[in-house]
Each structure stands twice: as structure tokens, then as C-alpha cells.
């Protein structure tokens, strides 16, 4: 492992971490290191200071807030999410999805905060957290602010977390009878996605459908959502609602798949995610 020379800091508190990030131009936060360390090995990025968050146990907590929101500390590992009874009770889809990321070693190291702050369009969590209408709490020198999921992802590798700021937690409301679904095609069994979709269907019939991998940021399929308003969520109805979705998208082409293929996959993934979400809603009802 031949990194460029880098300074390393291991803060003991979130305040200290924020101060370090704010105090050094070119400082980067190190969470599970599953992406950043590889990028540094390839010398595609060379931060001057690495601010290692692994000593910050306060960021690893998974709990319910006073107002009943499920809060995932940004440094909660995938393994923690999988094992969490709070997640299981409130929003089990989160555990189901992160359980398919990488292998055991990656799930022991990788964090939910890292997954979203990298903002890789092929990652597992971005479309899901938009579908669940998650809130992202960001700490900076001036205090805390909260950003809606749709405002969090700004571009490839770009989020609302500004220089000198740190994502501290992600809040998701409990399902309360809503059903969630998730579908897509991965590279190999546990790789990143070629295309993916997440959906959430409320007891009142409200729907959110969000696509990954088809743009720099997760894309809400608003036309599909509108067509599904008041739907019985039969397979025919869902397929009809999704029909034509691909044509509205402008996904990238790369070595793993063409834009046309991703358009088709986005439709298939959307149908499957919505059907799964709707079927689970009924179970919950």
C-alpha cells in the first residue's frame, strides 16, 4: 500500500473532528475506509490530513430520538445496522439492503455515513434513503443543520456536507405500516449496482419511487409516483405506471452496461421495488 504522505489525526470528540476538518484545507474524514483508502492507494486523491473518525463512539449509536425517529449514527457499521433491533422494529429494509453490501469484512468496516458521503451513484443506500425521506444531520463550526435526503446528494462524490463539516446522523421515520421495497442488479453477487430502485408505499397509498445509477444523484420517479396515486398496486397497474420511465432517463454508459440497458433495468427495478413495497404494506396493515 503506497499512499502519498498524509498527516493523520484521530480526534476524541465530534467538536475536535469538526475543528480539524475546518482547520486544514484538504482534510478528509476517514470512516470505514472502504472507498477512501482505495482511492488513496490509486493516488486518485491525496488528502493532506486524514481525520479518522473511528474513535468517535458517539457517532456509532443506533437509537430512537425523543420524537420517535430512528437515528443511525454516521459511523454505524453495516454489521451494526444488520444486528440492530431498533432497525428491525422501525425500518427493516435498511438492514436487508446493507446485508447485501460486499462481504463480512466490508460490512464490519463500512459505515452508513461513508456509504452516503461518498455519493457514488451506484451505492446501495442513496436511493433507499431518498425513498424513506431520511434526514441528514450535519455538524459544522456554526452548529448543526438538517438536510432532507433529496437535498443531500448534489452530484457524483458531492453532498451537502461542506468543507469543515461532518455528517453526524441519519434519521428515518418508523414505517408505521408503510411498506418498503428495493430491487436492482449488482455486479456479481455483492457488488455495486448496475441499476437499482427503492420504493416506499404508505398506508394512505402515498408512494415514493427513487432510482439509483441513472444520474449523478438519486432520481425520484415523480411521474410514476403520480400515476400510482390511488392505485391498487396490482402488477398490471404498477407495470403500466412504470411504462416509459426508461425513456425519461439519461443514464451513463460504462464497461458494465450501456445507457439503454440501464434504462430497461431502471424500469424492471422500479416495478419490483414498488410491488415489494406494496405487498409489505398489506402485510403490515
Amino acid at each position: 500500500m503506497l499512499l502519498r504522505e498524509v498527516e493523520y489525526a484521530r480526534p476524541a470528540s465530534v467538536e475536535e473532528a469538526v475543528a480539524l476538518l475546518a482547520g486544514h484545507e484538504g482534510a478528509r474524514a476517514l470512516a470505514g475506509g472502504q472507498t477512501l483508502v482505495n482511492v488513496m492507494k490509486a493516488r486518485a486523491a491525496a488528502p493532506e490530513v486524514l481525520v479518522d473518525l473511528n474513535g468517535l463512539d458517539e457517532l456509532r449509536t443506533i437509537r430512537f430520538s425523543e420524537d420517535g425517529m430512528l437515528e443511525l449514527g454516521a459511523m454505524a457499521t453495516y454489521a451494526q445496522v444488520i444486528a440492530s433491533s431498533e432497525v428491525d422494529v422501525a425500518r427493516p429494509i435498511l438492514a436487508e439492503v446493507v446485508a447485501t453490501i460486499g462481504d463480512v469484512q466490508i460490512r464490519n468496516r463500512g459505515t452508513v455515513g461513508g456509504n452516503v458521503c461518498v455519493a457514488d451513484p451506484t451505492n446501495h443506500l442513496p436511493p433507499l434513503l431518498v425513498a424513506l425521506d431520511a434526514r441528514f444531520t450535519i455538524r459544522g463550526a456554526g452548529g448543526e443543520r438538517t438536510v432532507a435526503a433529496e437535498d443531500f446528494f448534489l452530484g457524483v462524490y458531492l453532498t451537502a456536507v461542506g468543507e469543515g463539516e461532518l455528517l453526524t446522523r441519519i434519521s428515518v421515520s418508523p414505517a408505521s405500516g408503510a411498506g418498503d421495497g428495493y430491487a436492482g442488479v449488482t455486479l456479481g453477487r455483492h457488488g455495486t449496482y448496475l441499476a437499482n430502485a427503492a420504493a416506499s408505499v404508505g398506508l394512505d397509498g402515498s408512494v415514493r419511487v427513487v432510482l439509483g445509477c441513472v444520474d449523478a444523484v438519486p432520481v425520484r420517479a415523480r411521474q410514476v409516483e403520480e400515476r400510482l396515486a390511488g392505485s391498487d398496486f396490482s402488477e398490471e397497474a404498477v407495470r403500466a405506471a412504470v411504462e416509459g420511465l426508461g425513456a425519461t432517463l439519461d443514464p451513463p454508459s460504462d464497461v458494465h452496461g450501456s445507457a439503454d440497458y440501464r434504462r430497461s433495468l431502471a424500469e424492471v427495478a422500479a416495478v419490483r421495488a414498488v410491488l415489494e413495497a406494496a405487498s409489505r404494506r398489506k402485510e403490515a396493515a
Binding site: 503506497l2 499512499l3 502519498r4 504522505e5 490509486a42 493516488r43 462481504d103 442488479v185 455486479l187 456479481g188 453477487r189 455483492h190 457488488g191 455495486t192 448496475l194 464497461v255 458494465h256 452496461g257 450501456s258 440497458y261 430497461s264 433495468l265 424492471v268
Partner: protein, 777 residues
């Protein structure tokens, strides 16, 4: 007490599993300096200038050199040992390019520093001025008119044309009831040994050289190093310590070895180089990259009458050690396990601006087997015949069998393997499930695919190698040495890098000598200890080296017998040897064990007149024939017809590898081989863009499957004895050779009711989806 045939644990594993293996990168000598290689980012470029000033001024840098700086160091270019025709073009290839870089990754400069990290930092400061040249990466484009020339001075990108043809092939095709012609593209594969390459070079006070190398071929390295450096072989020692996989990619004598030696000599310090993973993708040989056009002719009853294959094979930018010969290793396998009377195979070697190709697990044989077994299914469809029945109808029945192509298969029972396969598979149940899913119109459809195969390995009879212009022989050697107090030292000329030779060879010797398996120590991989050997590749170590070992053991027993006969004052013929003891026939109380004979041999107090002291024998074995494993494989896949996503759900392999010395090691070889063939079928593809840039340079883009992608393999064996004293056949490559066509045949089978007849390699989700779209539109 026999250990042959039992799955004893590998003696190699404890140290490896505890992290106590000794790989090249773990070795450091006092004063070691570290080398970093600067590589061309361009697929083709004239090197206008190389400015090393900034690199030389950087922290910790000892020296930096361009290719021109080092040009006088080479006694000769890096040689190719297999120029397959008289006029095979072999342009000079030096460890560091001098005027022109011809592929992305071609070394253009080198930096030596006090640490590996400092060397890498300084390498980034080397300023090379390039004049980019047009490049070509695709074999077919490289042969088209006006294509950029990889080597301007050759005037062509064609390296050679090699042909093997029986008389009357065209007449046989013309006379056939059914003719099927298919085209296949087998993409580039990147071997990805988990330990990348590495060397550590030391030059002694008399100019003697020691090179520790992550190699499969210490003996071949030594030989080639003399040619490149002009240092006599007798002064060169090559040591392959623990080597973490090779799959053929560590056979070659790469430039970095001689380079490290030259730098060690110039700088007066040991020099070490360890390849990075990303560097490995560019700088280590690739495999495959072949386009085939294959024609089968058959009667309407399904008897195959002729096979004709033409193939265009990428050489890459230069010829590595055996690059042109790789297709030839498959040249006799286009009729496979079938009796086909008319035969024609043509290979055209083609230079492209890409990393050189060379041996990758199977080397030529997976290429042949793939087009053969895919075309068997195509022919079955054409004939309206079940693919298993078509195979059964054409499988060779009697052995030894001389093929139309001229070589003789010593042993086999292909029908037995196929019968056993169908039993283990429970084909009727699989077909019933497939029918039910089709009936219901399930999104996920099931397919089953077959591959009945044989292969030729155990390289090889030296005379045949000579006849096909391979530069050296195919024998191997072994020494068996009794120490005075009865332990046994075995020295072999093969060089394991994961195969478990220490265990397997100890089993053979222990059984034959009647000593404990733990009393047998196996030494290898150091040319100072093992003077003679042809190393490990082509599934040869047991089939060739193991027989040499058997013969050396027999010679030891013969000498011990003479000593015992002398001491017991009986005739040698009156002695029988079993379980480590010589007994006088009819007087079993008169006996002497072999360890006592060993002590007597060393004490030399009472030996037959004229006998030399000591009990040590060496044997060299040159096989009379190749080794011919074979078998029958089946894959069951599930294909998502909406997304093209394909999952392998079952894989059944029934192989005939002759006698299994250690069944666990045999299973391990089969498992690893299958994984690499399945990888080629579904996941792996080295992709160059049209300009010659390698797009798949990490494991995020080049998809090496892990256990998660693979089902639990169902392996079984049928056994026919090979024509050698141990009855053994090679097993290292069978899984890779047989599996890719079985898997792709299964994918096509899953979609055959929709009208799909082909899916290109690898059958990625998009390619499968495309195949479905094509028949639906």
C-alpha cells in the same frame, strides 16, 4: 499403512494460514534498495525524451535510468522460446523500452530509492516526453488494411500462420448432410494471482547472482537470464520461495528480473521490486483474446465427419516466453473426446498494442474446448437432437485412440464419466423443473448445459515439443536421498506455487519406501538445491515430475536391495520388499529394513565391491506421451429474463484424472479450475477501448468472482489408469478447460424456448439481456 489415495492435510498450509509463509516481498537483505518502474500511459508512443532530473533529486533516490541508459546492459533481448513456424516474427523486446512504447504499461524508466514508497513517489517525477502514435487493440482490426503497425519495421501485424490439416477436409464438408459454422470471441482474461510478481536480486563479489523471484519457473529463469545478461548459468541461482499463485502468469521471464540484477550490480546493493495490483493489470501477461470461426460437418444421424477451425490469436505487443505457442497447446483438441475423421486447424498470431498474452490456466485448451463444446450444442439444435445424445453418439469408445490429428490418447472412458454425470445431476429432475418454469412463464428460467471434454497436458514428450519448435525439453527430474539415520530428502525439479507438491510427493515416496509420510521432506524451488528441472505449468508436475520421483525411488530401492542381498548373503532375486523391509523369500525372519540399508550405505563398512557409499538416486523422466484427462461437466443456471442477470445454481464435475494421490488436493484443483472457467463464462473480461487503453484496471471493473458467486461444487470422479507407473493424469487445468462452455450452454438452454442460440462471452447481464431483446424484436 498406505497414504496414497487418502486426503491427508496439506503440510504447506499451517505456515501459510498462520501468515508465516515466506514470499519474496517478505524477504529483505541488508542494504536493500527498492525499484519502481515508470510505465507508458500510451498504447503506442515514440519516446522523445526522458528527463530524470527531478526524480534523481527527490528524497531517498539512489538512481534513475531510462531505457536508453540501460541499453548496453543487455546481452540479448528477452527471448521467446516457442517460435512456432520458421518465419514467426519476433521483434526485439527489452526490459525497458528504448525508442517506442508499444502498450499501455510498457516500462520506459526505472527509479531506485531507499524505500518502496520513496521509489514510487520519485517515479511520479520522471518526465517522459511522448509522441503518441496510432494504436490498434483488436485482433481483427489489426489485420485490416491500413491498420496501425505495432512494429513498423515488420510491415505487418501478422506474427505467424500455423496450420494442421488432414487430407480431404473440404470434400468431407461438401459431402456432409449438415454443416454448422459459428464464430466466437473469447475475450482477454487477466490472471490475477493473489501474490503479484516480485523479485529480489543480489550480486555477489565474484559476479555471482542470486534472484529470489515469485515465479513458477526457477530453472527456466536461470537459463533465460544467461541469454539476457550474458552471465553464465553456472553463476546464477534462482530461488522461488513461497509463491502465491501463478495460473501461468509467472512462467515468463519478465524484464523486471534482469533489470533488478543489472541495478544491483551497478549500485552494489540488493534491489527489490514488488508489483502493485494496478501494475499487475498492465504489466503481467494476459490470457485468451482469440476470435474463432468453426465449421462442423455431420451426417443427419448426428455422426460428426469433419471439424475445421480458424482462429486469430492476439499476441499483444511483444512475444513473451511462449506467447505464439499457446494456441498450439489446444491444436489437437478441436475434436476433443469425439471421433472425428477429418480435421483442420489454422492459427494466425496477431500483434496488437496490448499487454502481451501468454499462458493462462488451460492455455489454448480452454479456447479449443469452448468453441468445440458450444458448437456441439449448435449442431444438436440444427439436428433437432438432444445435446447429450449427440455427444454420446460421437464419444471415443476404445483406447488407446489415435486421432485424425495424429496424437494418441492413451486412456479414458468418456461414456463412464457422462453416465456418472447424469446420475449425480439427476437430469430428469432438472428438465422437469425447467419445463414447469417454462409452463408457468416464470421470470427466472432454468437452463442446463454440458461439456464433455478431454485435454492434453503434462508437458510433455521432448521429441514432440521439438517437432513443434519448442526450444527446450519436457522431461523432469527428481532425487531421493536417504539420510544416514533413515529420514528421506526428496528434491524435485517442479516448482509449486499452491499445488501442494510437498504433500503429494511425500505421500508417493512414503508409501513406496515404507517410511512415515512425516519422515519425507520435499525440497524444491531453488536451483542451487534442485539443479535439474523444467518447473511447473501445464499440469505437468505429477504426470511428469511425479514419475521421475517414482523412478528415483525405484532406483533407491534397487541399490538398497543390492546392499541387503550382500549383507544377508542371498541373491537379490531372493528378496522381496514391502512396508519398508526386505525379506528373504521363504525365510521371512531373515530381513533387513531399508533404513538399516541406508545406514549401511553411509557407514560403507560392508558394501558390495565397487559400490559407491550413500543411498541417493536421481532420475529424469521424459514422458512418451501427453497426459489425457477427461470427463463430463454440467452447469445449471437461473436467468432473470427481465434483467439478464444470471446465477449459477449448480455445477457438477465428473473428471477422470487417473489415480488420485490426494483426493482433497485433487478436489481443490478442480474447484479452483472451475472458478476460473466460470469466471470466464460469466464475469471476467479485460476490455481495451479502440485506442488501446485498458479500461479494466482494478477489481471494481474486472470482476473476479468470489465464493459468493459460486455454488458448492458437486465433484466426482471416474478412473482409468494413465499409461505411466503411477496411473496419474494432470488435474491442474481440467476445471478451467471444461467449465466455460458448460455454463454458457446452460445460459443458452435457459433461453432456447425464446429462440436464443448464442450469448457472447462473458455472459454478463447486459449481454444476456441483449440476446433476449434480439429474439423478441
Amino acid at each position: 499403512m498406505t497414504v496414497v489415495g487418502t486426503p491427508i492435510k496439506r503440510r504447506e498450509d499451517e505456515a501459510l494460514l498462520r501468515g508465516r509463509g515466506s514470499f519474496v516481498d517478505n524477504l529483505t537483505l541488508p542494504g536493500t534498495a527498492y525499484m519502481a518502474v515508470v510505465r507508458s500511459p500510451y498504447p503506442a508512443a515514440r519516446i522523445v525524451s526522458v528527463n530524470l532530473d527531478a526524480a534523481r533529486a527527490a528524497e531517498g533516490v539512489i538512481a534513475a535510468f531510462s531505457g536508453a541508459d540501460l541499453a548496453d546492459e543487455w546481452a540479448g533481448p528477452l527471448p521467446c522460446a516457442w517460435l512456432v513456424t520458421e518465419d514467426t516474427k519476433n521483434p526485439p523486446h527489452y526490459p525497458v523500452a528504448i525508442d517506442v512504447a508499444r502498450y499501455q504499461g510498457d516500462p520506459v524508466a526505472v527509479v531506485v530509492a531507499e524505500s518502496r514508497a520513496l521509489a514510487k513517489d520519485a517515479a511520479e517525477l520522471v518526465e517522459v516526453e511522448y509522441e503518441p502514435l496510432p494504436a490498434v487493440a483488436d485482433v481483427e482490426q489489426a489485420l485490416s488494411d491500413g491498420a496501425p503497425l505495432v512494429h513498423e519495421e515488420l510491415g505487418t501485424n501478422e506474427c505467424y500462420v500455423w496450420k494442421l490439416e488432414t487430407d480431404g477436409i473440404q470434400a468431407a464438408i461438401d459431402a456432409a448432410d449438415v454443416v454448422v459454422t459459428r464464430r466466437y470471441r473469447q475475450p482477454r482474461l487477466i490472471p490475477n494471482a493473489i501474490e503479484p510478481r516480485g523479485v529480489l536480486a543480489q550480486v555477489g563479489p565474484t559476479g555471482d547472482v542470486t534472484l529470489w523471484s515469485a515465479t513458477q519457473t526457477p530453472h527456466i529463469q536461470r537459463f533465460v537470464l544467461q541469454l539476457v545478461l550474458g552471465i553464465p548459468e553456472a553463476k546464477i541461482r534462482v530461488i522461488a520461495p513461497d509463491v502465491g499463485g501463478g495460473f501461468g502468469s509467472k512462467i515468463q521471464v519478465y524484464g523486471e528480473g534482469p533489470l533488478a540484477i543489472v541495478l544491483a550490480r551497478r549500485l552494489g546493493r540488493p534491489v527489490k521490486w514488488t508489483e502493485e495490483r494496478s501494475e499487475n493489470y498492465l504489466g503481467t501477461i494476459h490470457g485468451r483474446d482469440v476470435v474463432h470461426e468453426v465449421t462442423f460437418a455431420a451426417t443427419k444421424e448426428g455422426k460428426i465427419t469433419a471439424v475445421r477451425s480458424e482462429a486469430w490469436c492476439a499476441m499483444g505487443a511483444y512475444l513473451e516466453l511462449v506467447t505464439p505457442g499457446i494456441p498450439l497447446l489446444g491444436a489437437w483438441l478441436y475434436s476433443g473426446p469425439y471421433e472425428i475423421p477429418n480435421y483442420s486447424v489454422t492459427f494466425t498470431g496477431v500483434f496488437t498494442n496490448t499487454t502481451p498474452t501468454d499462458a493462462y490456466r488451460g492455455a489454448g485448451r480452454p479456447e479449443a474446448t469452448y468453441v468445440l463444446e458450444r458448437t456441439m450444442d449448435a449442431l444438436a439444435r440444427e439436428l433437432g437432437m438432444d445435446p447429450v445424445e449427440l455427444r454420446r453418439k460421437n464419444l471415443i469408445r476404445e483406447f488407446p485412440h489415435t486421432m485424425a490429428s495424429g496424437l494418441t490418447i492413451d486412456s479414458g472412458d468418456y461414456h463412464a464419466s457422462l453416465d456418472r454425470l447424469l446420475e449425480v445431476l439427476d437430469l430428469d429432475a432438472v428438465r422437469a423443473e425447467q419445463a414447469a418454469r417454462r409452463e408457468r412463464g416464470d421470470v427466472k428460467q432454468l437452463g442446463v448445459g454440458f461439456s464433455t471434454y478431454n485435454e492434453m497436458c503434462g508437458l510433455a514428450p521432448s521429441r514432440i515439443l521439438g517437432a513443434i519448435r519448442y526450444a527446450v525439453g519436457g522431461w523432469d527430474s527428481a532425487t531421493v536421498r536417504f539420510q544416514p539415520l533413515g529420514s528421506v530428502q526428496v528434491v524435485v525439479g517442479t516448482s509449486p506455487h499452491g499445488q501442494g507438491h510437498e504433500t503429494t510427493f511425500a505421500q508417493i515416496v512414503a508409501d513406496r519406501l515404507g517410511v512415515g509420510v512425516d519422515e519425507v521432506e520435499v525440497l524444491h524451488g531453488d536451483t542451487a538445491i534442485s539443479q535439474l528441472g523444467m518447473d511447473t505449468y501445464g499440469s505437468r508436475s505429477l504426470a511428469v515430475g511425479g514419475i521421475a520421483l517414482w523412478q528415483a525411488t525405484e532406483k533407491v530401492i534397487a541399490k538398497a536391495r543390492a546392499i541387503v542381498a550382500h549383507q544377508l548373503e542371498v541373491s537379490e532375486d531372493d528378496l522381496e520388499f514391502a512396508d519398508g523391509t526386505f525379506r528373504v523369500k521363504g525365510s521371512p525372519d531373515r530381513s533387513m529394513d531399508i533404513k538399516a540399508a541406508a545406514f549401511a550405505a553411509h557407514a560403507a563398512h560392508n558394501l558390495p565391491d565397487g559400490m559407491e557409499p550413500g543411498l541417493e538416486e536421481t532420475a529424469t523422466y521424459d514422458p512418451a506421451n501427453f497426459s489425457w484427462p477427461g470427463g463430463a461437466h454440467a452447469a445449471v443456471v437461473e436467468v432473470d429474463t427481465e434483467t439478464g442477470d444470471t446465477r449459477l445454481v449448480r455445477y457438477v464435475a465428473v473428471d477422470d484424472v487417473g489415480r488420485a494421490i490426494n483426493p482433497m488436493i485433487v478436489d481443490g484443483q478442480v474447484h479452483g479450475g472451475l472458478a476460473q472457467g466460470i469466471a470466464a463464462a460469466l464475469y471476467e473480461e479485460g476490455v481495451y477501448d479502440a485506442e488501446g487503453n485498458l479500461l479494466t484496471t482494478t477489481m471494481a471493473t474486472y470482476l473476479v468472482p468470489s465464493a459468493a458467486e459460486l455454488p458448492s461444487f458437486e465433484t466426482d470422479r471416474t478412473e482409468t489408469a494413465a499409461d505411466n507407473p503411477l496411473g496419474v493424469k494432470g488435474v491442474g487445468e481440467t476445471g478451467t478447460i471444461a467449465s466455460a462452455p458448460a455454463v454458457v450452454n446452460a445460459v443458452v438452454d435457459a433461453l432456447s424456448h425464446l429462440g436464443v442460440t448464442d450469448v457472447p462471452l462473458p455472459a454478463t447481464p447486459e449481454r444476456v439481456w441483449n440476446a433476449i431483446q434480439e429474439v423478441r424484436s
